[in-house]
Symmetry: C2
Subunit: 219 residues, 2 copies
């Protein structure tokens, strides 16, 4: 039996999780392309990080401008600059104001379209587990449902890969360290600045993951 070649589109934000995912899949022998999306996020700084990672690894990247999506995302701190990005630990309230509605389904559906157009076989995203109230679209049942949908959306069946879905962010940091991921190039902060604020929920979350993994964040 010949194995189907593993040709995968990675949804790459330029953050710690998706960057480690890219290295993880390269290590597993996948041929990769990376999809990054400008959806009107105030922290578009992450897109620069994504491009740097692709330049280093030689992975073909497309940055698709979907900033028109901001028109339907309503009041959300990630796309609406009139709202403040909340600081401190993630909480249900924090998560509500930083959730771009249905972002993962939108990104996976576009990645799947690109996979079909490229004759690729899979799409991958960096959803992971954690101690806080989880985002519904980072859960195993969401990944499984999307995997079922991408198997019937075209003549060619596309697989959804989410290898970190049961991992904590600290597990991802440890794996990234093993793989030599240049964490200092990745970008997590939700604020729109050029230097990470260290205060918003995702900065706090990242700092804790490094602390738990016993590693140092050079960002």
């Amino acid at each position: 039996m010949t194995r189907r070649p593993r040709k995968t589109i990675v949804v790459l934000s330029g953050g710690l999780d998706s960057t480690t995912l890219l290295y993880h899949l390269l290590d597993a022998g996948h041929t990769l392309k990376a999809l990054s999306v400008n959806y009107g996020q105030r922290h578009s700084r992450e897109l620069r990080a994504a491009s740097e990672i692709c330049a280093i690894t030689g992975v073909e990247q497309r940055v698709v401008d979907l900033s028109g999506l901001a028109a339907i995302f309503g009041h959300n701190a990630l796309t609406d600059k009139a709202l403040d990005v909340p600081h401190g630990d993630y909480s249900p309230k924090t998560m509500a104001v930083t959730t771009v509605p249905n972002r993962n389904m939108i990104l996976l559906s576009i990645a799947t379209g690109w996979a079909i157009a490229s004759d690729f076989t899979a799409v991958a995203f960096g959803a992971h587990s954690g101690p806080y109230t989880p985002y519904p679209d980072c859960q195993p049942q969401f990944a499984a449902a999307m995997n079922a949908a991408t198997h019937v959306c075209d003549e060619r069946s596309i697989e959804v890969l989410a290898p970190f879905i049961h991992w904590t962010k600290a597990d991802i940091v440890k794996r990234g360290h093993e793989l030599g991921v240049p964490f200092e190039l990745t970008w997590s902060c939700y604020e729109g600045g050029d230097v990470s604020c260290g205060k918003c929920s995702t900065c706090v979350d990242r700092a804790r993951a490094f602390q738990e993994s016993g590693l140092c964040d050079l960002t």
Copy 2:
């Protein structure tokens, strides 16, 4: 038991199927909003038709500019003006060149995001049956898989409605006639002109549907 109010986002291209769907759901008592998307299609004339339908019916419409998607759709006659739109009956070859990869999943995922942001309960699309090789993303199993995914993508469960999925296009024409749909305002032609060409697959398909239903197309 109180019924959950039916608040639905309709994916509205401005064509015959989605316009009849809008009238069909209004007739069934739904509160509607309409999502129209510019994804780089050469027949953007259909967007004007969609806006006219919304103006007549008083349905709130958003036209989202996702023309950046054209960058990942590869060689496709609907988005790549270097390719000719095929003429004559639909066939597997015709359909391959006019299929925007994963278009329905992309549109439904964006509609679902808007439904979540609007506290709406459902999204609807005009997929239907037909005598030719069917598009995979117009099939009942695709609609069912998307419905399963939209039930777990957020705290709020969103339903996917596809009431025409077992209907032929002629059935839709008959239903539209009953409902008084202004067919002359709808737009089907894939060519980029201001007058329908009458030759491309979708024009041929539309003409046959009117013929089968015994009605006259005033377009």
